[in-house]
Structure formats: structure tokens, C-alpha cells
């Protein structure tokens, strides 16, 4: 067994190139599903393996309520550096669980507060707020709503406004907040999964852009709407490092919209660069996920065998 126990903790590193490939070569809808799925599976394996390590660690502590068999030499042999790893796993797992709980709670708090801010207004699906700050949000809830400010609408022409609304509707129809919550929790469970969160944040936007382009029948109009909206929102503090000279999400979205539509086929042929990327991503992910699951299951079985029944 050996170092295999630690594999689920570091295998998420392999998701980085997968995220890049999927982001660039796959249809955004498929990239979102693929990356969110990968993220969820890897995070679960990582947390499970952490929990199993913690069991080994806790079993060493005097006065623990766990079966004595779990700290047998045979079990310890399966875990390299069991003394350190087991004990380190205890605070780490607590930290992971607390961090995930906090993220989930925060997610619901933002949605609840935003919903409450609109109380007293007629229950329309689009809410226009008089505000000099340009923003537009898709607000999922018992009643899905699109919130947009007058400042945002003022900069867009009629067709561009339709593009904006189609974009936000696409977020709501496809329940993008669930994808975003999944990758956010996964990134909390294992920091190596953070690039997947960034990638999915981008692919959901691209997905909504493509849906909007199909709905209103003009990729250029959507591109112009995204571009103009980004330019008037530029006063907001940038989350990304300004020194980084790589293009941020907005210019990449506009460039993608000004280019040809991505192939909507579910699985492209293996003999194209997109196909190679897709299949490579899928294969890499499957191997990562299987290895993760394998070591988690192996450790589980060892512990089960060591449990006196």
C-alpha cells in the first residue's frame, strides 16, 4: 500500500492541465460538466482519505473510543509515517470540514440576503434597480430573478440588453449556481482543486454567453454587450493580480464570441486537437479518480479487516 494512501490528497494536481485543456478546447457546457464532476469526485476521495488517515491517527491517542485493532501494527504498516500523518490528519480534516461548512453557509446567506433586499417589490422575473453602480446578477431562489441596475442598462443598446437578459436567464435555467457551489466546496476540501474553481467560473460564463448568442441569433451582439459591460464596470476593485499580463475572463469571452461557435457535438473525434484534448482530459481524470478511489477503498478495507467483530 505505502504512499498510495496519500495519492488522493495530491492527485488533484493532475486536474490542472485537464482544466486548461477543457477550458480551451471543449464546448463550455461540456467543460463545465466535466470539470465540476472531476472536482467533486476528487474532493470526495481526498476528504475520505483524510478521514481514514484521521482514524489511524485518532486510534493512537490514549482513551479514544475507536476499536483497538485500528492501531495494530498491520494497519500502521499500511500508512507510511503513520505517527505524523495520522496526527496531522486530525486538525486538517477539522479545518476542511469547518471551511466547507462556512462556504456553504455563506452561499445561502448571500442568496437569502439578496432575496430579502428585493422584498416589497412586485414579483417580476426582472428587477431593475436605480443605481449608478453598473451590475447585473442572476439571483436563483424560489422565484428566479434577474437583477440589473439602470446604470448597466443605460450603456447597452436594445439588442445588447436582450443579450444580457438571455445570458442571465441561461445562468438560471441551467442552475449554474449549483456548479459554482460544488467547485467552491471542492476547492475548500483540497486547495489543489482551486484552478478547477477558476476554470468552472469561466466556463459557466462562456456557457451562458453561448446560450445567449443562440437565443438572440448574434454572437457579435453578445460580444459587444460583454465588452461594454466589462468596460463600464472597470472601476470595481480587481480580484486578479494586475501585474499578471495574461488576459482576464472578459477579453477571452469577447474574443471567443467574435470567433466561430464551438462545436456542440458531445464527444469530438479523437483525431482533432479538440478531440485529443477532450479524450486526454477524460482519460487523465478517470485515472486520477480511479486511483483516488482505489487507495481510499484499500485503506477502508484494511481498517475493516482490523476491526474485531
Amino acid at each position: 500500500m505505502g504512499v498510495f494512501v496519500f495519492l488522493p490528497l495530491v492527485l488533484p494536481l493532475t486536474a490542472w492541465p485537464v482544466a486548461r485543456l477543457a477550458e480551451h478546447h471543449l464546448h463550455p457546457r461540456m467543460a463545465t460538466w466535466l470539470l465540476t464532476g472531476v472536482s467533486g469526485v476528487l474532493a470526495m476521495c481526498s476528504t475520505l482519505s483524510l478521514a481514514l488517515l484521521m482514524v489511524v491517527g485518532t486510534a493512537q491517542l490514549p482513551g479514544n473510543p475507536l476499536p483497538d485493532g485500528w492501531s495494530d501494527p498491520e494497519v500502521r504498516e499500511a500508512v507510511p509515517y503513520d505517527e505524523i500523518a495520522g496526527k496531522l490528519a486530525i486538525p486538517t480534516l477539522i479545518l476542511v470540514l469547518a471551511s466547507c461548512a462556512r462556504a456553504a453557509w455563506r452561499h445561502h446567506r448571500v442568496r437569502r440576503r439578496a432575496g430579502r433586499a428585493l422584498e416589497g417589490l412586485p414579483a417580476t422575473s426582472v428587477v431593475v434597480l436605480p443605481d449608478a453602480n453598473p451590475y447585473a446578477y442572476a439571483l436563483p431562489g424560489r422565484k428566479d430573478r434577474v437583477v440589473v441596475t439602470t446604470a448597466m442598462l443605460a450603456t447597452l443598446t436594445g439588442p445588447e440588453r436582450r443579450a444580457l437578459f438571455a445570458h442571465e436567464r441561461a445562468h438560471l435555467t441551467a442552475r449554474h449556481h449549483r456548479f459554482l457551489l460544488t467547485v467552491q466546496l471542492a476547492a475548500r476540501a483540497n486547495p489543489f482543486l482551486r484552478p478547477l474553481r477558476t476554470a468552472v467560473t469561466y466556463t459557466t460564463e462562456r456557457w451562458a454567453d453561448e446560450e445567449a448568442a443562440t437565443r438572440i441569433g448574434s454572437r457579435r451582439t453578445v460580444a459587444r454587450a460583454v465588452g461594454k459591460a466589462a468596460l463600464i464596470s472597470r472601476g470595481a476593485p480587481a480580484v486578479t493580480l494586475a501585474g499578471f499580463a495574461s488576459a482576464g475572463p472578459a477579453p477571452r469571452r469577447v474574443a471567443a464570441l467574435l470567433g466561430p461557435a464551438p462545436a456542440a457535438r458531445l464527444w469530438p473525434s479523437l483525431f482533432t486537437s479538440a478531440g485529443l484534448a477532450a479524450w486526454g482530459a477524460a482519460a487523465g481524470t478517470t485515472i486520477s479518480a480511479l486511483s483516488s478511489a482505489n487507495s481510499a477503498v484499500t485503506l477502508f478495507l484494511i481498517l475493516k479487516a482490523a476491526t474485531p467483530l
Binding site: A103, R106, H107, V110, R111, R113, A114, R116, A117, L118, E119, G120, L121, V127, V128, L129, P130, Y135, Y137, A138, V147, T149, T157, P159, L164, H167, E168, H171, H177, L180, L181, T201, T204, E205, R220, A223, R224, V226, K228, A229, A230, L231, S233, R234, A236, A238, V239, T240, L241, A242, F244, A245, A247, G248, P249, A250, P251, V254, A255, L258
Partner: protein
């Protein structure tokens, strides 16, 4: 016991609908041609709200900047400054400003731009031949 329980049931939806109460008070004030007292607002709302509740709501609206007040004698007279949508905008702003990672929750139409991105974006839009049409 049963009375206490019923009261509990009564206050619960009220607590949840605080935003609605604010909107109602604001709507009442907006119908007035000028500044009005809290008592006038209470009467206008049909009297199912306690006077202190009306005062509390008016004060809260004042903090949010949706109403202004002027001291007349020993009490205040209140005037609506914003409408219901304006009040919602002020409340939404507070929610958004208070959440550092709101982007992780609410899918925003666009995110902030770096100076490099801005140049890139202007170049991209300038290339677009249909700019200004339709």
C-alpha cells in the same frame, strides 16, 4: 401556552417580512404631498402596526437613506427620498458590498478588468466591424 404559541406564529412571518414592511411604510410616505409624522404613517397603514414599530422602521429607512426627517417641535416629520425600487437598490448594494466573495455565489455578468484587459478589450471591440449597427 396556546396563546404564546399563536403569538409566536404571528410574529414569525412579520419578522421575515421586514423588507415588505419597509416598502409599505415608504409607499405610504410617498403618497403624502409633503412631510408627515409617524402617527400619520401609522394611521395610513390601517393601524395594525404599533407606533414604536413605525418609528423603528422609519429610523431604519433613514439610516438607509431612503427617507429624510426634519425636527418639528418635539417629534420628527418624515419625507420619502427614494421609491421602493430605490430602497431595494440601497439594500442590494449593502448586501453586495458586505460580501467579499459574492462572485463565488452570484453569477455576475462581468468581473473587474485589469488595465491590460481593458486595452485588450478595446482592441477587440474596435476590430468588430458591426460596431454601432443594429
Amino acid at each position: 401556552m396556546t396563546k404564546a404559541k399563536r403569538e409566536d406564529h404571528d410574529t414569525h412571518p412579520r419578522r421575515r417580512g421586514q423588507g415588505e414592511l419597509e416598502a409599505q411604510v415608504l409607499a405610504a410616505l410617498r403618497q403624502a404631498p409633503g412631510a408627515r409624522t409617524a402617527g400619520w404613517v401609522q394611521e395610513r397603514l390601517g393601524g395594525d402596526l404599533a407606533y414604536t414599530t413605525v418609528i423603528t422602521i422609519l429610523t431604519r429607512l433613514h439610516v438607509k437613506g431612503a427617507v429624510s426627517r426634519e425636527r418639528v417641535g418635539r417629534s420628527f416629520e418624515w419625507t420619502a427620498v427614494a421609491d421602493e425600487a430605490g430602497l431595494a437598490a440601497l439594500r442590494m448594494r449593502k448586501v453586495l458590498d458586505g460580501e467579499a466573495d459574492r462572485g463565488a455565489v452570484l453569477a455576475s455578468f462581468v468581473t473587474a478588468l485589469s488595465p491590460h484587459d481593458e486595452r485588450l478589450l478595446r482592441d477587440l471591440l474596435a476590430q468588430d466591424p458591426t460596431e454601432g449597427e443594429d
